[in-house]
């Protein structure tokens, strides 16, 4: 091999600056190990790249370092794992792992049969829909006479309901506040304030766990109202397992109010609050971790 020609071919520059496809990259690595003079050139180019890149250095926001040190300090615990970016976790199952596709493992003949059943069902549904539309049109004329009376009845009913709920709400919210107040000071309930994950502020919510009833309580302080297509989701973390702890309601009307979430069977070691799309088809990567909490 003509090493000088190889050095001047430009391939080493492209190698160091990451422009080579994988196979060529491996080839260069092998040659670098074999020829000291090539290695020297590559070494110089790497130095040059380091200098070049250093000219773009920017001090990162100071908060990042603390979060990072927390991550690596707790990396052997489930809570620490939950703090890590999903692809870097070692033990924890991914949040909301998609159900394994049964179609993928199904023999072709079975799949065909299943397809046919679906086709027939779809045809039947369409037929029923067509009949239903026809009947609706048929009865529409008759019903229009009753429509006015019906609407008046509904309006009257709504007024009665509204009056009733106004009365009962006053007593219910009082009772709720009274019992919630007790829960806040109940020694059987462990309360923690959540920590912010990534760019999210800490202390956006409080989570409580009742040792006796095993119920989880949630109070929102600063979590934003989610967009219509998304929802917040609370997960409890126990021994590398995530357990669904329910989806809290977030609105400006219930900020600071205690919400009763699901019961969990195991003692939680921590919690993760994610924002995720409401759709079942959403991938786990769509879930964004907002807050985490650690139970001692």
């Amino acid at each position: 091999m003509d090493i000088n020609r190889y050095i001047s071919s430009g391939v080493l520059e492209s190698y160091v600056y990451g422009l080579l496809p994988d196979e060529e990259h491996s080839e260069v690595e092998a040659i670098v190990l074999q020829y000291p003079e090539v290695r020297q050139v590559v070494n110089n180019l790497q130095h040059q790249l380091e200098d070049f890149v250093t000219s773009y250095a920017v001090t990162p926001p100071p908060s990042l370092k603390k979060q990072l040190l927390d991550m690596i300090h707790n990396e052997s615990t489930p809570e620490g794992e939950a703090l890590l970016p999903e692809e870097l976790r070692l033990n924890l199952p991914p949040v909301m792992a998609p159900a394994p596709s049964t179609l993928a493992t199904m023999p072709i003949s079975k799949k065909k049969n299943k397809d046919q059943i679906w086709k027939m069902m779809a045809a039947a549904i369409l037929l029923i829909l067509a009949i239903s539309v026809g009947l609706n049109l048929f009865f529409f004329k008759d019903s229009s006479d009753y429509k006015g009376k019906y609407q008046r009845l509904i309006a009257a009913q709504q007024k009665i309901d509204a009056d009733k709920s106004q009365q009962s709400n006053q007593t219910a919210s009082f009772r709720e506040n009274e019992s919630d107040e007790t829960l806040l000071h109940d020694p059987a309930v462990i309360w923690v304030k959540t920590s912010g994950y990534g760019r999210h502020e800490s202390g956006a919510a409080s989570l409580g766990w009742d040792k006796n009833s095993r119920e989880i309580y949630f109070i929102n302080w600063q979590l934003p109202t989610p967009p219509d297509n998304k929802q917040f989701h609370i997960w409890s973390v126990t021994d590398h397992q995530l357990q669904d702890a329910g989806m809290p309601e977030i609105s400006k009307f219930n900020t600071g109010k205690l919400q009763h979430m699901k019961r969990v069977i195991e003692n939680p070691k921590g919690f993760v609050i994610t924002l995720e799309p409401k759709s079942d088809a959403a991938s786990p990567n769509d879930a964004e971790i907002f807050q985490t909490a650690k139970f001692k």
Binding site: L45, V53, T54, S55, A57, L69, L88
Partner: protein, 184 residues
């Protein structure tokens, strides 16, 4: 970089392998500006660049056993991790070729001498050297290194033949080398 190093690279590697959090903290203090700079150049969004930086350091912490000193220095290895993680993040955000084209147009504006924007902390006085690169050569280095474009993509974006990409890339790097030598 400006700060005085009290550890050699070999000591840093050894400390990381021994799971020494103090060494990790030291490593972060000394290398995070350069690695964050790479993430910012690739992604431009500060929040995402911050997430990438954290991911990079967790990867360094967890993969230190995979570091092979025979292939290059620790800093080079960390730079590769930072660049690849940032580019993966860029791709996962479904940035398309159109985005890269927009970036090129934006960069072209920035490289006009009267519009030059000094976004970087200039530790070694190198930014001048980089600015002295011809506009076309600087764009080609940016596209290749910071945007992770393939040679084919660069040819398409800049509308030049594939063979020209390689020669222009080499010329750019050679010119950069000369400029850096003058500065150091």
């Amino acid at each position: 970089m400006g700060a005085t190093f009290t550890y050699t690279e070999a000591e840093l590697v050894q400390g990381l392998k021994a799971r020494d959090e103090k060494i990790f903290s030291y490593l972060y203090d000394h290398y995070s500006p350069a690695l964050y700079g790479v993430a910012l150049k690739v992604i431009t969004d500060e929040t995402t660049a911050g997430d990438v930086l954290q991911e990079v350091f967790v990867k360094i912490w967890r993969s230190i056993d995979k570091y092979d000193a025979s292939k290059g220095r620790l800093f080079t290895w960390m730079l590769n991790i930072a660049r690849n993680t940032a580019i993966d993040s860029l791709r996962s955000k479904a940035y398309k070729l159109e985005q890269k084209i927009t970036d090129v147009n934006n960069h072209a504006l920035m490289y006009e001498p009267q519009m030059a924007v000094h976004l970087q902390v200039d530790h070694l006085g190198l930014s001048k050297a980089v600015e002295l690169l011809q506009k076309e050569q600087r764009i080609i280095i940016d596209l290749a290194y910071f945007k992770g474009c393939t040679q084919e993509e660069i040819a398409k974006v800049l509308d030049i033949p594939l063979g020209t990409v390689k020669t222009r890339m080499r010329n750019a790097i050679m010119q950069l080398r000369g400029l850096l030598k003058q500065q150091l």
